[in-house]
Symmetry: C2
């Protein structure tokens, strides 16, 4: 069955891709250039897709940056430092990001003759990002099924939605995900900054799995 | 209350904009360049917005064309001729179009501090376009509310969803919508082709209201 994995270049979607790539037939990876601060993560996504032999398409939607100005990831608002679950991390919420990504991915699936779309949202996202929670996935599925009625029957799957980052790190390590190809940091420097929310989370999750990441700060 | 109207440049969204513009305060018009075959409709939208003094923003998302290849409006598939409700009109369905547009518009509303998003889908769309039907608007509202939880409480309104095109033509005429500024034709020639689905529908609806449109074919 044809299926589309949303691939960001981070640990979670890389693990999801590797899990799905146990059968690469009919598997497509899709990235979105939504005007994020840097291209590190999409370059990482390309490398991850190449490493497992899955075709990767980037949808160039940079114009989103001009209208989604409420987030530190799509504007000049400073990227907050600290733990992921902190109040300050709300600055990294991009309005309607997953609704936009999944709508685009479902449209792409339709055009490819695929009906399954996979996203790697996980439990660690729940505290800050409303569009990473199980009720969002459920509501999106209902909406998408109505939107495609008579043409296709989309299924949006979020197999990690109740898994912690550490559980994903364990799964990815077992699947031999090349962590060194993945990129998490919001800041997009030469190496991972080590102090933004997603660097904190990455470091904690990979601590027990021979983390190959070079971090600029922290220990 | 701030609100965003999705404006395509056609009769329906022009009428919706004029209805809302009875109070222009806090009113924004948003268009999407999604890689449609021609720019006639977005130029028309700009003229319509100018005529009533509402700021108009176009989101440049031309990259959608490369992935939404299943439609005659975003590919080189020929635009079908004939009545709107005909089976052949299914070629004009753009996968997930309204889900993408409304997700983008809701994200834009969030960034603008608006909570209301208006779309001019109407009953004439129901036969062909699943994402123009009342259950889609209902499902989208639920999804958007979950996606924005804790940040904003979006309301997506579709006040024409059960109106016919003729009823919209009557309303727009009463509101003095400048029909000559609007553009319906899928083909994007010098004048309206007169024989594509939306030209058929336009001609029928405006027949009783001094239609100023020049049509290439038909009578």
């Amino acid at each position: 069955m044809k299926r589309v994995v949303l691939l960001s270049g981070g640990m979670d979607s890389a693990t999801l891709l590797y899990q799905e790539a146990q059968n690469v037939e009919g598997l497509y990876a899709l990235g979105v250039h939504y005007g994020q601060r840097h291209m590190r993560e999409l370059v990482a996504a390309q490398h991850v897709a190449n490493s497992v032999g899955v075709p990767f398409t980037v949808v160039p939607l940079m114009g989103l940056r001009s209208i989604l100005s409420a987030s530190a990831l799509t504007s000049d608002i400073p990227v907050p430092e600290g733990h992921y679950a902190a109040e300050s991390m709300k600055a990294t919420v991009v309005p309607m990001r997953n609704a936009i990504f999944l709508s685009v991915a479902t449209g792409y699936a339709w055009s490819q003759g695929a009906e399954v779309v996979l996203t790697a949202v996980h439990a660690g996202d729940h505290a800050v990002y409303p569009d990473c929670r199980p009720p969002f996935i459920d509501a999106f599925n209902l909406m998408a099924q109505v939107a495609c009625e008579g043409f296709m029957n989309p299924k949006i799957l979020a197999p990690f939605v109740n898994m912690t980052k550490t559980e994903i790190a364990a799964l990815g390590s077992a699947l031999e995900v090349p962590w060194e190809l993945t990129w998490s940091c919001y800041k997009g420097g030469e190496v991972h900054c080590g102090v933004c929310g997603t660097c904190f989370e990455r470091r904690e999750a990979l601590a027990a799995f021979n983390d190959p990441t070079e971090y600029l700060k922290g220990s």
